[in-house]
């Protein structure tokens, strides 16, 4: 067995340890490298920045705990921004297992921003049907959500004054980890009810949303933890995402090194095989 072969066949648990350390050490001893802001994230930020006070923003938290590390910081950053701008926030989720997380998140950010449920924001909770919920909200919001998360009737809540359907929403942001998510909000929402739409998503689905971004169907896109970190830097409140960026850097570099090693060993093995082939 050659060196390359031996190296390729090492116990993979050694790699697990390496990657674990690459994550853990930067989290314990952060460096704080500067974060460049991309156009996509700025699209969402600038739009919220440009909205007049008391505009209605809809935040659909379409993710479950599996994507919490990526989308939770995005949600916190956008909410802080919206509350700072005194916008009215309608929050909801299309993913049943994300309901509790969305509720906890809203309560936390609203409390620190001194906002009142019912007056400054409302959490509609979850409703089954996915795309049907979006269409139904576009037709009549009170029909889709007769009551909010806490069981209070939605009709008559001060925060929803003048809002009858999605047509009365100025800006909607869907933070999604899959389907139903950003795409569904475009196809079944914006396409007909004509609100402006921004997106936030996990890294896995982000590349698939770029055609919609290019064609202006989305006016901005926050991709993954990196996107969240950019948004946190934009609003000047560094949180979990910025803190995670060093670890992200370290793991990426580690993966790149591993891929490089893999290919070096692979090609040296191939050359060996070819040499042996020509000798025999």
């Amino acid at each position: 067995m050659s060196f390359a072969e031996r190296m390729l066949n090492i116990d993979r648990r050694i790699i697990f340890v390496v990657i674990g350390l690459c994550t853990l050490l930067p989290l314990l001893y952060p460096v704080g490298l500067p974060i460049k802001i991309s156009q996509e994230v700025r699209g969402v930020y600038d739009h919220i920045e440009s909205l007049p006070e008391h505009s209605v923003v809809l935040l659909s938290l379409d993710f479950d705990p599996a994507s919490k590390p990526e989308l939770y910081p995005q949600a916190v950053a956008i909410l802080r921004h919206a509350f700072k701008k005194n916008l009215r926030v309608i929050a909801m989720t299309l993913w049943v297992s994300g309901t509790g997380m969305a509720d906890e998140l809203l309560t936390k950010v609203a409390t620190e921003s001194g906002k009142q449920r019912g007056a400054d924001y409302v959490f509609l909770g979850w409703s089954p049907g996915g795309t049907a919920v979006i269409i139904n909200m576009g037709q009549d919001l009170y029909n889709a959500f007769p009551s909010d998360y806490g069981g209070k009737p939605t009709k008559g809540q001060p925060v929803l004054e003048g809002v009858n359907s999605l047509k009365d929403v100025t800006y909607a942001v869907s933070l999604s980890a899959g389907n139903p998510g950003v795409e569904a909000w475009y196809v079944f929402g914006k396409d007909k009810y004509k609100f402006e739409l921004g997106g936030g998503c996990t890294g896995v689905i982000a590349p698939g949303l770029y055609p919609l971004l290019r064609s202006g169907q989305l006016n901005g896109l926050i991709g993954g933890l990196r996107g969240a970190a950019e948004y946190e830097s934009l609003i000047g409140e560094k949180g979990r995402a910025v803190a995670g960026m060093d670890a992200q850097s370290a793991t990426h570099v580690a993966i790149i090194v591993l891929v490089a090693l893999c290919n070096i060993f692979y090609f040296s093995l191939r050359r060996q095989a070819r040499q042996q082939g020509s000798q025999s």
Binding site: E70, P211, A247
Partner: protein, 249 residues
């Protein structure tokens, strides 16, 4: 506060049990995994009951006499006839309705959002009219709307569309176009690959951040103690299995 401390211990323990899969598939992992499936099913049932039965059906009917809502309830109940072999065919009515409405809703909307909109943005002039300069060709790669990028997008869209074209043999000039399509595809897959790596690493970062938080003395350092317990159990288990037939992993 006490409840939170117990919670921290439980959460840490379950997190570590699942991480133990990295060592190998073991009973601790299976325990956590099955608990996860059970809890999420239970959660879904409770949420569905609360949202659908209570707020979408019961209250509107009792408080506003919206009797028409009994129709979807009937359709929903038809769906459950799947479990009664003799009446299972009734469930077809429910599926026929859902699938029919779904297909009908999807057709025009898909055409509008994913076909027409996408064609519209691909069909752009190759030259731009700059006031004062007249008609120009812009070379700026960083501007997504520049002429050169418009051409690249055009080539990408056409060659990839051609690659998934099955009525024509990929030979002659077609072969070159298809090869171009494959190269474009590979670059896009590369981008997706990079992004997916980023996403998975972020998830790990998120979990480790929680574990670090739970190693705080305020919680009684559950991370430390439970890590020891998990490792100890794994060692004990592997000792026991060594005396038995060799493991599958």
């Amino acid at each position: 506060m006490d409840v939170t401390i117990i919670g921290a211990w439980v959460a840490t323990g379950l997190t570590l049990f699942i991480f133990s899969f990295l060592y190998k598939d073991n009973p601790l992992f299976k325990l956590a995994e099955n608990l996860y499936v059970g809890v999420s099913v239970g959660y879904t049932i409770v949420k569905t009951y609360d949202t659908v039965i209570v707020y979408l059906i019961w209250k509107p009917i009792v408080e506003n006499q919206e009797w028409t809502l009994l129709i979807p309830v009937a359709i929903g109940l038809l769906m459950l006839t799947r479990y009664v072999p003799k009446a299972a065919w009734l469930s077809r009515y429910a599926f026929a309705f859902i699938v029919g409405v779904g297909a009908g809703l999807a057709i025009p909307r898909t055409v509008s959002s994913f076909i027409l909109k996408q064609i519209e943005d691909t069909v752009r002039p190759l030259l731009v009219l700059v006031p004062g300069d007249g008609v120009t060709f812009s070379w700026n790669l960083m501007n997504p709307a520049s002429s050169v990028n418009v051409i690249i997008v055009l080539i990408g869209v056409s060659s990839v569309l051609f690659y998934f074209f099955f009525s024509v043999e990929h030979s002659g000039p077609g072969k070159a176009v298809a090869r171009m399509g494959v190269l474009f595809l590979m670059i896009a897959f590369g981008a997706a690959f990079g992004y997916t790596v980023m996403a998975r690493m972020s998830l790990l970062i998120g979990r480790l951040t929680d574990l670090i938080e739970y190693s705080d003395p305020a919680y009684g350092r559950p991370t430390l103690w439970l890590a020891l317990v998990t490792i100890g159990t794994l060692i004990a288990l592997s000792r026991r299995s060594r005396s038995e037939p060799p493991d599958s992993h």
